[in-house]
Symmetry: C2
Subunit: 185 residues, 2 copies
């Protein structure tokens, strides 16, 4: 399965940290790539690249996790649809996630669209599914995490191999970062 | 079960939106209250209060969701421990979440501590459990959402009743907000 993310309407400085969190959740929870529209943000791209350089960017599909800027959402979404992606737009106005999970999981390729403040009507029309992770106002970071967690069936919680230079050795009270042996890279 | 959240070290303006997302996730995913330390932020409190006023603040334990400022984390945590709360600190350095989920779920009262950039050593010592939602760098918003989701066994995804003035009627492509009938309030 291939999962990619599109973050809409990134605004500086307002969305700086939220979009970074969206991107890091995408990486940590099994997506292969994130694209974003709105304002170009070299800082966002650098933050994500640095995380990948140290912690690894190996994705479930074997590729390296990537972040890229797109001028316009609609052509990007249309191109992915032509490539066979099922487009899942996360919105609190949509159908409850668990009512559509089987359909999403049966798709081989999924584009998850994560909105910002005002999502244009056209996105709702273009999406194959408009899906709500709870019908309550909360956070696109949380919505994306839960959506990916359910699609991945929780696999991301039991330690995926990102092929990084460093990784964490879980501990009861400490902070243990270890260098990963080169073998297996 | 009663779940409360403590957000550590809120900084203005840097954490304005992240802490708001943490608070809204707390509400939407079944916690009863959030307290925060760091800089006092009337705007954060107002945002959360407004959401509760419109969308409802009824919690699983029957109380109204609340947000409050605390001067210092340590006395707050110690007081909750005396009250019988199990203290779960979310940190990527901790033990994988799923290895401790049964212990957390069997606790009647849980305080989930959500860090910011630098969490003092003392918090690791005070916590009953230091728990990682993936051992990868991502987002405290996502970590909290996944933790609450697992503790709540996904109940938050099937529509909890917050007793709000307004709520969403899920739709395939639209945005339907409806006023909630007074009965049952």
């Amino acid at each position: 399965m291939e999962i990619i993310i599109l973050r809409l309407g990134h605004r500086l400085p307002r969305d700086e940290r939220i979009s970074t969190h969206v991107a890091l959740v995408a990486r940590a929870f099994g997506a292969s790539a994130i694209a974003y529209t709105g304002q170009h943000d070299a800082g966002l791209e650098l933050s994500v690249s640095r995380i990948c350089a140290n912690w690894g960017g190996r994705t479930v599909s074997g590729s390296q996790f990537s972040v890229s800027y797109e001028k316009s959402a609609v052509p990007f979404i249309k191109a992915r649809k032509r490539d066979g992606f099922t487009v899942v737009h996360l919105t609190m106005y949509g159908i409850p996630f668990m009512e559509r999970i089987e359909r999403i999981k049966s798709a081989g390729k999924v584009l998850i669209v994560v909105g910002s403040e005002q999502v244009p009507r056209e996105i709702y029309e273009l999406a194959d599914l408009n899906i709500a992770v709870t019908s309550q106002p909360h956070s696109e970071v949380a919505a994306l995490a839960i959506a990916l967690d359910r699609i991945m069936e929780g696999k991301e919680l039991s330690g995926m191999d990102f092929g990084g230079k460093i990784s964490i050795e879980p501990s009861e009270r400490g902070k243990k970062i270890v260098e990963t042996p080169k073998a297996g890279q």
